[in-house]
Symmetry: C2
Subunit: 653 residues, 2 copies
Amino acid sequence: MFNIGNLGNNIINKNKEEISYDLDMKGVNNLRSLAIDMIDKAGSGHPGICLGAASIIYTLFKRHLNINLDDLDFVNRDRFILSAGHGAPLLYSICYMLDLLTLDDIKSLRRINSKTPGHPEYLKTPLVEVTTGPLGQGIAASVGMAIASKHLNQKTDGLIDYYTYVLCGDGELEEGITYEALTLAGTLKLNNLIVLYDSNGVTLDSNLKTSSQEDIKMRFESINFKVIEAENTPKSIDEAISLAKNSEVPSIIIVKTIIGEFSKYAGTNLAHGKVLEKDDLLNVKEKMGLYQTPFTLSSEVKEDFKNTIIERGKLYYKNFEKKYEKSKNKILVDKLIKHEITYNLTDIDISYDNKSLRDLSGDILNHIANNFELLIGGSADVSSSCRTNLVSKKIFQSDSYDGRNLYFGIREHAMAGILNGLALSGLRPFGSTFLTFSDYMRGSIRLSCLMNLGVIYILTHDSFTVGEDGPTHEPVEQLISLEAIPNLKVYRPFDLNELIGSYVAIMEETNPAALILPRESKDISEYTKTSGVKEGMYVVIPNETDDYINLIANGEELGLVLKVSENLKEIGVDNRVLSVPCMKNLTEKTKEKLLEKRSISITFGSPLYYYSLTKDVIGVSTFGQSGTKEELLEYFEFTPKKLESKILELLNK
Amino acid sequence: MFNIGNLGNNIINKNKEEISYDLDMKGVNNLRSLAIDMIDKAGSGHPGICLGAASIIYTLFKRHLNINLDDLDFVNRDRFILSAGHGAPLLYSICYMLDLLTLDDIKSLRRINSKTPGHPEYLKTPLVEVTTGPLGQGIAASVGMAIASKHLNQKTDGLIDYYTYVLCGDGELEEGITYEALTLAGTLKLNNLIVLYDSNGVTLDSNLKTSSQEDIKMRFESINFKVIEAENTPKSIDEAISLAKNSEVPSIIIVKTIIGEFSKYAGTNLAHGKVLEKDDLLNVKEKMGLYQTPFTLSSEVKEDFKNTIIERGKLYYKNFEKKYEKSKNKILVDKLIKHEITYNLTDIDISYDNKSLRDLSGDILNHIANNFELLIGGSADVSSSCRTNLVSKKIFQSDSYDGRNLYFGIREHAMAGILNGLALSGLRPFGSTFLTFSDYMRGSIRLSCLMNLGVIYILTHDSFTVGEDGPTHEPVEQLISLEAIPNLKVYRPFDLNELIGSYVAIMEETNPAALILPRESKDISEYTKTSGVKEGMYVVIPNETDDYINLIANGEELGLVLKVSENLKEIGVDNRVLSVPCMKNLTEKTKEKLLEKRSISITFGSPLYYYSLTKDVIGVSTFGQSGTKEELLEYFEFTPKKLESKILELLNK
């Protein structure tokens, strides 16, 4: 293994290239010492990766990553994703070296309101392209960014052509989401994607081999990656990245590193997540040939590092500008630059034609796609069931990167993670599967919401009315589980009017949205309102007297409730029907105003969904059953007759 | 590809072996025709896999699977898992051939209350070892069963030694959970696991190559599997299984099949999930040389199939009985046979010693493990953080299958799926990770609950008080999301008393449980009650007058509420404090009795968790922040002072 000894002193007999790499090594060690000083000051953090992987990130920034320090949002910048988010101090120290963070900032690691949180958070810190920390998510997002680069390259005649680099550790390659995402990357031949693998052979609990003895090289060859092995030196890493950039398929660079290098716990899991003891900290610095006070940054290192990046970035930027001036696709590029991801859905002209709600959803989605070119998306292999195929668009494949239909395969988790990457690249992505299987992608949905990205989830087959496929395919707890995620707007329209209202709202806003649709309801009402969606809850059928009750529902259930409402009125129980197409749009004020009278909610899912509105909820607290839809409506006592009795029973209590 | 033509007619010049395989082929075709008749009768289902993979399942049952038709629960039976659950009609037809289902049963496919639901459901149908349908889950469960077999083999001196066979399709191998689970299987050298891969090259939406171009052979070699390729004939499959049984590592048998073979849609995704058109159905049968009326079962086929299985099973069972009689470990085996998975935790003697709740949890878990040998489990690489290492037990590794610490690697989803398999094998499994990352395993948790298995999830780091690691590691919506899953008992103890109460309840019961613990609270109260856990909610601090309010909390929050309660009493606001260690244990009656007075709930998570109890909830509706615990308590206004003000504000409204 590489042994650095004292560097930068003896430069006799070295050529220019060697001297330059020697300076890099000095930079790497300075980066390491900054990172461990940060962790020491914070009193918690992960020194292992900071000592082990500093050379990878340093070399990438110094010698390859094209960014524009005058415009960090530069649309064609190369992307770097620290998927192993616990290595955050490395990235923050890089920012400090580039004057993007102050000394105060890096001294405030892990403190509230600082720019240096425990794990990288999107929009909080310069150079952070994506919030990471939950393992594997950064890798999936990076695949999304690589897809976006390929797609935009086609749409801009080659103007957009950035690389995506992602740094990951052993643990991440154990996560299924990375396998899903990278297999897709290999299939799509995303040669603009370069995985930098910090291979230290250790996980938090043990040596890697305790839980994984796979042959990583063979694994990546099997999924169509170029596999490059590098030593843990700037020179070797530099050369490996150059090789990777010229590959015809995505690359992984395996760098054998030592976790917590120079620490007394080097090479063991004890080095992973514990602050270095004081003497060990000094010991580490001494081994690197450093005798600095905390937070020292060598001016020689800084000047070299920053200037090199600025110079290369300027050249890269100028080159882009030249091409931009000649470009025929300025409009699209300008949209990307301005991050215009909303679409004003006023021109919609969809007719009912006795179609199911998911068919109508497909019509609207296609209408949007035909008029708004940033819309791109697909399905985890159920596009035909979710009706999310863009019929006049191609499939995104290695020979048709202009395609806007993404075939994710049966990889729900990676789909959602990739959607995050697409959104972060300025596109407006959607993904579809059955509502039950949203369970598979919650890790990534959470990140859509934490970053507040404009990702659109289209989730169909939304209750036991799925029928014959049985309880594994029948959601019960999913609606409340999604509603509980901060920032996620969950839309559950009843009919075409509310569906249009939902799409209008989704496309006007820029936050994450879940559109929940039934399998096959064709219900329609003349009383529903498109505008009701923005109110969150509204009156569909009014009361006739002052003595009435509220009946509340959304989605397919509303059709049943409308019937029961009529029956109840006939027997003298006055009522009004409220629809809740988007609970998060409901203000406290509207809620109180609408719910003054006795109110009962009705849902085909978990009653927990409605308790924030009403004390009385008629719902489903068990799993579903396999049977015809009619059998199940009977089984769960959701025929008009039985629901009526239940409501009367509640009223007489 | 294999072309069957008319079989069983021309037997001249064939040796006995060939004749026997010819009969198998006749059986395969009969199985196919039964399955498509079922789907035709039901009006929905998946004929593609039934026509494509019949030979695999038929050959396995006829020639290898050791079961005992007189005792389907026979503890050492080989396990067969139909992970591709949409192939259910195949398994049901096998049951019919073995007289385990009636003609009426198979005619009732996908109807309510039938024994033949849309996807296989555990306990509903003979021979169904695990509920499948959500792709990949069956594979993870099968790895759990293979682990259990290896473990019990060690514990019973070789008495238990069953094989686990799992049938999967292309789609499943795209799911990350299968990669996670099978990589672990390869690492652990589970040579009792045999994956039967129905490789038809087609998924629901398209050809497989659209979404996946991985080299499956190389992938499985990279994860330490023996890869065997077989033709789609009984003879070739038979030989492949024999080879696999003698492998030193787990095996995958790749059988190149044709989805919807003989249909006019054969080999395309159109054959996947649509009922065959009438003429196509006849056409398929004709091509197989069958001119039968629906639901015909050849007596020659049935006799051969059933008798062969009975004979082999008898021999296998006798052999087991002989070994059992001589065994020194009858007690353990008897426990497994009687499925005794509860443990009476009366002998517990744990002292507080100023330990954190998760440390105390570790003590109790170790106590149980030392006294109850069916307990086995581990962590998704955070055992040291979750305190779930069984300190006096070995790690389960290929050279120590008697180990009871499972190192799952950073594979949360597979961990949960494997726990299901362990539970289905008669063990009492636990798995641990951080509460936030329960998101990664919801697909499998749902199945624990749907099957009502005694799986124990230990989920620590349960709120923003995690602190420095930031919002990615701070749960908000997870508590309500878990609570919403039917059958899942969610325990959230405050201190040692309630922790013991939780473990007592968990070990007494046989349903799935989630034990939710804070990162580092050391709180303790003399007023909490062990018995309160079973009540669900109980009074910790009583009121002093008749004019009082209820303050409700559980977990770490309760400590804060206890302080505030005191302060409020001092300023004349009488109150009592209720703890809710297990909401699902709360009966409607107790709830009404306890909540007559004005009540306010306090939670560090989503307020949605408490609306079923109280209208007023003080909670957290945004994501967390990175900062010290103290900073965050201030940020979220959960200091005693601020909480007191909020409560007073609510009361004055």
